[in-house]
């Protein structure tokens, strides 16, 4: 019997070694594999290269991993946020390397790694400072830059549900980088709200087929799916809301 489920987040991240390249899913806070990141912090691996869209928020999650000086280098599209002070401090102190990648190139380079593409000519970034050192070619009258795959030793991602084969479904925009990262890492580790019985995910709706997934761990239902649960959300600057009343009401504006 194939059973990719593990009992807890610590077991899920076991064996990650110093010097690994680790992809971390999520866009802002949506789809962040919070429990897995916490487990990685506890697990102890260091000298890491992180591939993620952002470079951490506040003092938790990826930011906490950075604060522990466990990350040597980060590859991302948008490190600078109002609450990325941990990264900002390390960067200004010259204590972390940064590779800035346009978000579309980041996603496509990760996909390319999963799809066996050796390199591809991308239309993004031509004529900009991020083109520096890249091979440029004009194809069909349009200028492109040659971009290489981004692979990883490990991907840590979050999904809504998995079966024991590792088939995944996601929720809303928390899907974001999960499917491509799952395809690009040697070992893909997934936290889900729940493990469902094999056969209970409609094969038409599987987003990440199980062959991309190595370990899944159930971390419990996300609180906002319960009635009277957590009110999440962020304000217009991306700051987490203290309470629901902080949100601007615009539903009737259109």
């Amino acid at each position: 019997m194939i059973d990719k489920t593990v009992t807890d987040a610590a077991a899920a991240v076991a064996g990650i070694v110093d010097g690994s390249t680790v992809m971390i899913g999520g866009f802002g806070r949506a789809g962040q594999p919070v429990e897995l990141i916490d487990a990685l912090i506890a697990q102890g691996a260091g000298d890491l290269t992180i591939v993620a869209n952002n470079a951490g928020n506040g003092d938790t999650g990826l930011a906490a991993l950075l604060a522990e000086r466990r990350v040597r280098r980060i590859i991302c599209s948008f490190p600078r946020q109002h609450d990325s002070w941990v990264f900002d401090g390390l960067y200004r102190a010259g204590e972390i390397d940064l590779e800035i990648v346009p978000q579309g190139n980041l996603a496509e380079r990760i996909r390319a790694a999963g799809a066996g593409i050796g390199a591809f000519f991308s239309p993004t970034g031509v004529g900009t400072p991020l083109a520096e050192g890249k091979e440029e070619r004009t194809i069909g009258g349009r200028r492109y830059l040659l971009e290489y795959p981004i692979t990883a030793d490990v991907a840590l991602i979050s999904a809504l549900a998995a079966d024991r084969w590792g088939n995944l479904v996601y929720r809303e925009t928390a899907r974001n980088f999960g499917p491509v990262m799952a395809s690009a890492a040697a070992t893909t580790i997934v936290q889900v709200d729940e493990i469902v019985p094999l056969g209970s995910i409609d094969p038409e709706t599987v987003v990440t087929p199980g062959l991309f997934v190595d370990r899944v761990v159930a971390v419990g239902r996300r609180p906002w799916l319960d009635a009277d649960g957590f009110i999440g959300g962020v304000d217009i600057e991306g700051r987490p809301l203290a309470d629901a009343a902080d949100i601007v009401q615009t539903e009737d504006a259109r």
Partner: protein, 211 residues
Amino acid sequence: MTTRISRAELAARIAADIPEGAVVNLGIGAPTLVADFLPAGLEIILHTENGLLGMGPSPKADRIDPDLINAGKQPVTALPGAAYFHHADSFAMMRGGHLDICVLGAFQVAQNGDLANWSTGAAGAIPAVGGAMDLAIGAKQVFVMTDLLAKDGSSKLVPACTYPLTGVGCVTRAYTDHAVFDVVDGRFRVHDAFGDNTVDSLRALTGLELS
């Protein structure tokens, strides 16, 4: 006194130029205001690059869902007809030319359509590009929404960008608080000027050759 329309008026002006059926990305920041002025009753499909087509307005406070956000990480909703997809598919839509319009902010727009909106190039600034470079080259039409003049009074529409570029020759139209400019054959052409602005007064303000 030169006429300058408000940020909200500018958003409304842009919204009025978006036809029914258009697939539109409103970037982050000020351009997202355009959504509030889209004509009621017209179906315009909003794309947000973090994986949603058919984005709706902000939710009421008690309906906020942390899994459902836009590219600016603000809470949003999904309309009937919406679709979710992953990041590579989302940027494939953009880079493959399937968006009709995107609306972006700008530090500078050059008369050849070059856009600078991601970095001032200031020493010590932490670079962060997000999806700006993909949006700039991906949409069929790239609208810029900006004040015409920077805080120091200099024109943000320029003969050639001095800030680091986001995209080359990509801007099709610049909506400013003074006037709307089209990029045509390497020059700005005044599409319409607000209030007492004229081609001559805009020429004086910007120092640009204008037609």
